[in-house]
Symmetry: C2
Subunit: 193 residues, 2 copies
Amino acid sequence: MTAARTKAHLQRVGLDMIAEAGYEAVTVEQIARAAGVSHMTFFRHFPTKQSLVLEDPFDPAIAAAIAAQPPGASALARACRGVRVALDAVSLPEEDQVRIRVRIGASTPSLTAGIWANTLATQVAIADALSTLSPPYESRIAAAATIGALTVAVLEWGTGPADRRLKDNLLEALNVLDPLDPLDPLHQSEHSR
Amino acid sequence: MTAARTKAHLQRVGLDMIAEAGYEAVTVEQIARAAGVSHMTFFRHFPTKQSLVLEDPFDPAIAAAIAAQPPGASALARACRGVRVALDAVSLPEEDQVRIRVRIGASTPSLTAGIWANTLATQVAIADALSTLSPPYESRIAAAATIGALTVAVLEWGTGPADRRLKDNLLEALNVLDPLDPLDPLHQSEHSR
DNA sequence: TCCCCCAATGTTAGTCACTAACATTCTTGT
DNA sequence: ACAAGAATGTTAGTGACTAACATTGGGGGA
């Protein structure tokens, strides 16, 4: 069996078991056996048990959109506006499996901790994108604040009603840090400065 | 030996060993033996190995100062101004041991992850304090952004030059989220609204 | 078609963080 | 001095994760 198939199979089986019994109640050994492999194969595909749930590749489009923001605004505002642009361009997965993973992560304390840890790479990428126009310290602060807001938005989406769109949650979060004109709440980020 | 003394002794010995050899290179067993106790005693005083480095009690004064902020400003602004007031009132420890702990945490990836996890309780407290005047969602976003900024400020302080004051780092971070009048950059938080 | 090669997987034996159950010692008030 | 409770020790275990080495299976070249 090809490597990608084995990995996908492990994740499907593992998420099923965890969704049913809870993250702590399922051991890696059990997941591996249920998927018909050994625990070593599990760890060859997922570096940690956490990563089965939390694995989330960073999208470089976000950093690019932030770096492309025009000068004249604070680092925080540029970060928020860049993310808005990226949200318009990229199509979010919004698949059911993502929602399940977020729900598991939000309801398991040890995983919620891991979620914040997972954002570190994104945080650094955003800070780098900001630092072309702002001092490094301000860039790091703005990046951390932005990531914090977005992470809460994702967690809230995962635990909220199923018909709520992730994108709406994210835009609302950005609005807290960088308020748009309330009369024209959307479609302004690309044109305002 | 009284419990508090044993705990302090374990922490002193453990931080010494970790500062010298690195967090991953020192086992709990080694710390316990060096302190003249068994590993069970270690875990009776520190729930995890991480907590030896990261343990940091939440100061309720911060939440109180935020809750006392006057209405008329955004949740984010009230959070920042409340923290500024709390920083004026409370005297920060600023001891060498704190700096050592932050330095260890900042330079050890698995601990940096734990630092973010440790802020969760504070984040919830701030969100609660904000939610008396703002909707819960906006409160959670603002709390996450504020905590994110403050955490970066602490990490930066821990790795930066030794004569830099923690308070200055924190105020500068708050300034990124809630800019003060640049002509009167300090001493304004208590009077502005 | 055969074979070989290498990627994917298995086996085994460990380390380390952490826990449960129970035994032991030390301290402290009376 | 003497119980009673707090602090600590012992032992045995679980589970995540790693290192070293053995094994298999399928696809490309001869």
